[in-house]
């Protein structure tokens, strides 16, 4: 067990270093100069003053040192928890900006992923054994997964927000409110959260339901099911075994999904103008903000690695074969 975890940790460590290095590299190879674009917004009219200001900010951001020094300075800063200063939101530290946006993204993503996974799997499992459900849930699932996300989200915003007027269509909370520990603010927060959540939930739901339904049908046709049936085991028992086996690929799927979900959140946040990490990524890209972009990606990388690590451990707990292989290896 510990050897397994140790090996996994080693792999994650290497992945982390490589991913962080790539994160550091990519923005620096993008065209454009962050300091220049910052100053071009400042409409400095005197070219000489501009030269001097460019030099000044290059020094502030450490962009005047050779690349390898910037790279080591970045790692050194990382271990101090210092991700530098944002160019776009100068002079705010990157860490502060990210911490302000993370709750919104997590509050949106975690419920959407986990609930759609749980409910999707349940629905799929039900669908596999009921003709009526199979004929209704499945087509709807196909339609939902095949719908372009952007379009579905706009449709939801239009139907439930603009026409229906049930939910607000933009922002994290009302523009008339300041955050406070009151019931009014809280309900406002939830009402702003609901539409983006619903759009992500609904889109993911269809995929999980279809996957689960197919897996269950496959497992019910497997030899062990037939054998159990021949032994006269009750159908309930067979189904329970089938469900357990069908869960394994779904868990792997969840791990994979976690890696790609940030991209999905980006669209959601743009459509609903939700103040999470997704909009932040877009803005930092548009503004050549290396430091912010680096920080967000770092956060995403760490998040995905932790999630995968948890799922690796869950896998050990739920899949007896992994356990057996490990104990077999130990003996």
């Amino acid at each position: 067990m510990w050897r397994y975890i140790g090996r996994k940790l080693g792999i994650y460590g290497i992945t982390f270093v490589v991913a962080v290095t790539i994160n550091w590299m990519i923005p620096r190879f993008m065209p454009g100069d962050p300091v220049r674009s910052m100053l071009s917004r400042a409409s400095v009219s005197d070219p000489e003053a501009l030269e001097r200001m460019t030099a000044y900010y290059n020094e502030v951001f450490g962009l005047d040192t050779p690349l390898h020094q910037q790279y080591f300075a970045f790692w050194a800063g990382l271990f101090r928890g210092d991700l530098g200063v944002s160019v776009w939101l100068y002079p705010e530290p990157v860490v502060d900006i990210i911490l302000r946006h993370v709750p919104f993204t997590l509050g949106l993503l975690l419920p959407a992923i986990i609930l759609s996974w749980i409910i999707g799997n349940r629905l799929g499992a039900f669908a596999a054994r009921s003709k009526v459900l199979d004929n209704t849930v499945l087509p709807i699932g196909y339609i939902l997964t095949a719908t372009p996300y952007m379009w579905l989200a706009l449709l939801l915003a239009w139907a439930l927000g603009v026409v229906g007027g049930f939910f607000p269509t933009a922002g994290g909370y009302s523009f008339a409110l300041t955050p406070s520990w009151t019931w009014g603010f809280f309900t406002n927060l939830v009402s702003h959260w609901f539409l983006p959540f619903l759009s992500m939930f609904v889109v993911a739901l269809g995929g999980w339901a279809i996957g689960m339904r197919n897996m269950i049908i496959y497992e019910l046709e497997a030899d062990y099911s037939n054998y159990l049936q021949a032994l006269g085991a009750p159908r309930r028992l067979i189904r329970r075994y089938a469900f357990r086996n069908a869960m394994l690929p779904q868990i792997t799927g969840l791990a994979v999904q976690l890696g790609t979900i940030i991209a999905g959140a980006l669209l959601t946040e743009v459509v609903f103008n939700y103040p999470g990490l997704g909009t932040l990524i877009l803005n930092s890209l548009n503004n050549n903000d290396f430091f912010l972009l680096q920080g967000i990606f770092l956060f995403v990388v760490v998040g995905v690695l932790i999630a995968n690590f948890i799922i690796d451990i869950v896998y050990v707990l739920v899949d007896p074969r992994t356990r057996v292989r490990m104990t077999g290896g130990a003996s």
Binding site: P31, G32, D33, R36, S37, M38, S40, R41, A42, S43, V44, S45, D46, P47, A49, L50, R52, M53, Y56, V60, Y90, P91, E92, L99, R100, H101, P103, L106, G107, P111, I114, L115, I119, A157, G161, V162, T169, A170, G171, S174, F175, A176, T178, P179, S180, W181, T182, G184, F185, F186, L189, W193, F197, V270, V271, F272, N273, P275, N283, N287
Partner: protein, 566 residues
Amino acid sequence: MRSLRLPAVLTAVVLVATACTGESGAGGSGGYPRNETLYTTGTAWGPPTNWNPIMEGNYAVGTVGLVYEPLFLFDPEENDYTPWLAESDEWPDENTHVITLREGIEWTDGEPLVAEDVVTTLELGHFDIHYSNIWDFVESAEATGEREVTVTFSEPRPQEWMNWVANRAIVPEHLWADKDQAQVNDDPNADPVGTGPYVYENHADDRMVWRRNDDWWGTEALGLEMSATYIVDIVNASNEVTMNMLGNHEVDMSNNFLPGIDQVIERDETITSYYEEPPYMRSANTAWLIPNHEHEALGDPEFRRALAHAIDIDQIISGPYTNLVEAADPTGLLQPWDDYIDHELVAEEGFSYDADEAVRILEDAGYVDEDGDGYVETPDGEPLSLELAVPSGWTDWMEAANIIAGNAEEVGIDVTPAFPEQDLLIENFRRAEFDLMINNDRGLSNTPWTYYDFIFQLPIRDEQITANYARYENEEAWELTERLAATPTDDIEGAAEITSQIQEIFLADLPVIPLWYNGLWSQSSNRVWTNWPSEDPDTPDSYATMWNNLYQLGAIYTLAEIEPVE
């Protein structure tokens, strides 16, 4: 499904509750009363992070205008300066400007506004900031009385000087005098102390909230009372989101370019703009087609004239802009500068869309299609192919570029549209690595000098950062521009004489080709606030906008003139 809702909601509640912990618990819980709050959007492209009036282009919407104020405003309708923080001014001789401040103005921390504040603000220009260049012609600034500032010039440039006076915000000496370079450039100035009609209330990443300053000097001195107790400026979202918010009357004034807004204005009575009919919007700046004069053909005035005649501007206006903009005058000068346009000269020398004329000019200048590929070659017989760059994602400009390329093809000029990232484009054009591009970097101001300074500025440097992107070298035009800068601001006739000479050169050479006037995008909801500026004589004529540097052109009046709906 129904049974599954409960756990979903419960999880949501828990997660959202954790999300709240990151927020500070300041402010009231009731929210800002809707009928006392003005919601605006269209200016901020990012979260408010600083309130430092020196950090031009970076400060939160309203920092200059609502909090920090200039000495004078400029009234583009009357072509005149309105004393603001100043009470009066005087030019004893052409090298001296004496400005007297109003009595009884206080900073929001209770200190009085004094002459030293103006001197300190000017002297900040000794640091590397965006107005450091005034010290090229200002010799000294002294407080010659408690509320009297005397500025002497080493070289009189009243137009350029008044551009500073009517634009730049005064900062308090008692808080700014001891700042060093880094503080002036970096300090977010989180607790802005100004003289203006609004004070900081709150901010978040997607909004800036201002609260009315009930002790504002203008109420007594000017009889102006700001209508809204709170102004909430919302950071720009996507066009769809903004359109939805406007349609739901969640924002009162949007200063965004919203494609299709003309249909909304026509359909929805409660949403209005300045004009009831096309172009709906007033103009804010001129979009030019900028050729790179270092390019062989584009450096040839005849070729540029042919290109100017080839462009069917109406196709662009009725196409991507759905008639929301107007075609530019051949001089490119905006409507408020009409006094400076030599209309006789324009009627004679101006260009308009005429494809046959374009072909004729090309032929006369030796640009003909010898090899039969449908495109002309240079007089030397070299093939000629040009790239027209506009920033990626600027959809209206991208469509305009496509139309221009099509127009050019019709007269036999090979133009290919290109859509690089904006930052890349900026970097490239500064180093003259482009053929053609569309640009609108200079807009409305108190003097046409800013306009001509942009077009003719010499000398040409390795990198052209703020002006003369075309790299047009004409000593005579630049000398005339310098003379324009030195013309007294009340001598409009004298200035017009100079601009007429400039226009003669401009129309003959067409260093840049004026295309259309970009709109001062402004659409307002009349559900909560009404009496928005419009062409109707009963309504105000000030600009309805939160854009930076337009408060100084009178947009501040709009905030006092709007009325709550009963």
